[in-house]
């Protein structure tokens, strides 16, 4: 049944690419946005948000969701022209650079996590280099490959994660920490929202750039759904961790989500006793898909020829691999993310919100000016 369903997703992706090229279906927007956001959301945040906001981290999560939903609803449709077009282009360019930096951090975190939990003796380069090479090769195979990959694998990723979470429900024994504390202090919650900023950076850009490739303009409902899917997945992972470990034990771990999911046991089944391997698969897939989608978004941002694409991909992938290897430990990459990338992300998100608000205001004024005098 599952395979049929997956097959239909894939077929749907192929059809939309083959018949209505270059138009993607609106379902593609959901999967591509999920791929773009989820890769950045797998590491760092639950720990550091809980470190500042404690049990009230879920309020921070909800606030971050509200922020990104507002942002998404403000994105103009159809695409603006003139000076606003250039302004949006600059915003997208900045977002892609910041996202690229986040990706390097995530690559480092992924490799360090795999080494800590699963591949103790495998050198880090042997984990990073093949992954980046595959990402580079896949993106350059054909212009649609990255989109098609996202449309095939993201549903699988969601099914896989849902499967693990379903099994993890047995371990969720503490429901009290899922509700906020009786002392709701605003500052720690805002700090938590600030830490979540790095997850929000790719959202606006992904929606703006993918919207250009869609056969029809995405309605606000589609855009909001595209945002809500990854946030709900992150919230469910958070609930699984908080409910099984509690807010104090969580802060003693570097990768609480992996820790919690690695200890889901299936003692009664004969052939699948530890599901840690599903976590390895999902996490690697999540990061690889997001890297792929981000490179592809770069090509949409600035269309280029085949050779230029190859050169740019090699450069980007090379920088990622070197950066991920140079950051010697996950502590270094976490510090880089929290102290340099995250403040930039916050600044960017505020700038993006202001720009979108101004654009909306401007187009409203323009619309009024174009109306016949009698209708005013």
């Amino acid at each position: 049944m599952v395979f049929n369903l997956l097959g239909s997703f894939y077929a749907q992706g192929r059809r939309s690419l083959a018949l209505k090229s270059p138009g993607l279906t609106r379902t593609a927007l959901l999967w591509i946005t999920t791929a773009s956001v989820l890769g950045s959301g797998l590491f760092v945040w639950p720990l550091h948000v809980v470190l500042v906001a404690g049990q009230n981290a879920d309020i921070a999560l909800v606030l971050a969701l509200v922020w990104t939903v507002v942002l998404t609803l403000l994105i103009p449709s159809p695409q603006p022209s003139g000076i606003w077009h250039s302004a949006t282009r600059i915003l997208d360019g900045v977002a892609l650079i910041v996202t690229g930096a986040i990706d390097a951090v995530m690559l480092n975190q992924l490799a360090a996590m795999l080494q800590t939990f699963f591949y103790f003796d495998t050198p880090r380069a042997a984990l990073i280099l093949p992954l980046t090479a595959i990402v580079g090769l896949a993106v350059n195979r054909a212009p649609q490959t990255a989109w098609r990959m996202a449309m095939l694998w993201v549903p699988i990723l969601i099914f896989g994660t849902a499967f693990i979470l379903l099994l993890a429900v047995v371990n969720v024994t503490h429901l009290r920490p899922l509700a906020p504390n009786d002392q709701i202090l605003l500052m720690p919650i805002f700090q938590g929202v600030g830490i979540l900023a790095y997850i929000g950076v790719p959202i606006g850009t992904t929606i703006r750039l993918v919207a250009r490739k869609l056969a029809s303009e995405p309605t606000p409902a589609w855009r909001v759904t595209a945002i809500v899917i990854p946030w709900v997945m992150l919230a469910m992972l958070y609930a699984a961790v908080m409910g099984s470990l509690g807010p104090q034990a969580l802060t003693h771990l570097r990768w609480p989500v992996v820790f919690a999911l690695d200890h889901v046991t299936l003692d009664s089944t004969f052939f699948l006793s530890r599901i840690g391997i599903v976590v390895v698969f999902s996490w690697t897939l999540g990061v690889a898909l997001s890297l792929m989608v981000h490179i592809r978004l770069g090509f949409t941002w600035r269309p280029m020829g085949r050779l230029t694409r190859l050169a740019v991909t090699t450069l980007v992938v090379g920088i990622w691999a070197i950066a991920a290897l140079v950051m010697s430990s996950p502590q270094t990459s976490t510090r880089l993310l929290l102290h340099i990338i995250d403040p930039t992300a916050r600044f960017y998100l505020i700038a993006e919100l202001c720009a979108m608000l101004a654009l909306r205001g401007f187009s409203a004024v323009q619309h009024r000016a174009h109306l016949p005098a009698a209708n005013r």
Partner: protein, 363 residues
């Protein structure tokens, strides 16, 4: 040109496949010595402990099982070391194959070991990353005896105690999964607890809770342990005997749930626990007023549960421990509550509601 590119692709794919499989960590099973259980006992030297590692004998194949004597299914290595990691190194020096810690089923610590050794062992296991933390942590008077115990019904590489704790066939859902004990160690407001294993004549018995308070762990009485399981909802099935008009009756298959509510009042905490349990009379209540007699049975069982709960509450106060995690719940609902205030500020109200599901059937 096209042929050349195809060859290059094939070579590239092979290289990728090789490196992606994580060859560095893949060793055939005959080159590995998978640790099945670890036992830790106190040793005479200062800061030293005796470590026992048991391994399944991999030369025992399916074909040779019938001929292998039971004593050869597992073998053990004994070392004395200051901590777990040194013990592992010492054990490795006596073993020709690589020690593998991904299959550890039981880690048994002696109840005579100070609690700080328990803590440091668990922390080492969690921090090193090489241990699988779904292992069971248990306590025993003599850890080496427990890990070398092979019940006659188990066949290598099954560890009997692990199966007993995992099968959900015990009357109590015992605590002690490695990751959970670790998380209780680092969480204020709960005294971590594990099951206390009593080895006796080649068998083991699980009746008591071993609570890891400082400086030494303390074992709860069997009565208090049952009370604890009623309070925490960890009771899977229980039998209680009652007498009705001088006729002994057994109420069996008792199961249910508990609900805890915590109310903060200035400097005190009022905990109220609602126990909602039900069971089956194994036998028939005969007489003119069967319903009235049923009510009598229910009342007697409820009183008995109350006495178990009373025993647990007194044991918690006597030993100044909280394996229920109520202090933790208090902290989670009120961030200002300090965990180290003991039981002196607590009051407990317990409502027991017991109903008979049905009567046994005379065949």
């Amino acid at each position: 040109m096209r042929k050349k590119r195809g060859k290059l692709r094939a070579i590239g794919l092979c290289l990728l496949a090789l490196s992606l499989s994580g060859c560095w960590d893949q060793h055939p099973v005959e080159m590995r010595a998978a640790v099945a259980a670890i036992g830790i006992d106190p040793a005479p030297g200062v800061g030293q402990a005796n470590y026992t590692f048991t391994f399944p004998n991999v030369t025992t194949t399916a074909a040779s099982l019938a001929t292998t004597p039971q004593s050869q299914e597992f073998y053990a290595i004994h070392v004395t070391a200051p901590n777990l990691l040194s013990a592992l190194l010492s054990a490795q020096r006596r073993e020709s194959r690589t020690l593998y810690l991904g299959q550890v089923r039981i880690v048994c610590l002696s109840s005579a070991l100070p609690t700080r050794i328990w803590r440091s062992t668990l922390m080492t296991m969690a921090d090193s990353g090489r241990f699988v933390l779904t292992t069971w942590i248990v306590g025993a008077p003599n850890a080496a005896a427990v890990v070398s115990l092979i019940p006659p019904v188990e066949v290598v590489p099954e560890v009997g105690l692990y199966n007993a704790l995992t099968c959900r066939c015990q009357g109590i859902r015992w605590p002690g999964r490695g990751w959970r004990v670790w998380s209780e160690i680092v969480t204020p407001g709960i005294t971590p607890s594990v099951v206390w294993v009593h080895p006796h004549q080649g068998q083991f018995t699980l009746t008591r809770l071993l609570v890891l308070r400082s400086p030494y762990p303390v074992s709860w009485s069997p009565e208090a342990t049952i009370g604890w399981s009623y309070l925490t909802g960890r009771l899977l099935r229980d039998n209680i005997s009652v007498t009705l008009d001088h006729t002994p009756l057994v109420v069996g298959l008792i199961r249910g749930r508990s609900h805890l509510a915590i109310h903060h009042r200035q400097s005190t905490i009022a905990a109220s626990v609602h126990l909602d349990y039900s069971g089956v009379i194994l036998g028939n209540v005969s007489g003119s007023d069967a319903i009235g007699l049923d009510r009598q049975v229910e009342r007697q069982v409820a009183n008995r549960i109350q006495s178990y709960v009373q025993a647990a509450w007194l044991e918690a106060q006597r030993t100044d421990t909280d394996p229920m995690g109520w202090h933790r719940s208090a902290i989670w609902s009120d961030a200002a509550w300090a965990s180290d205030r003991g039981w002196s500020h607590w009051s407990l109200t317990c409502w027991v509601h017991f109903t008979l599901r049905e009567e046994g059937v005379l065949r």
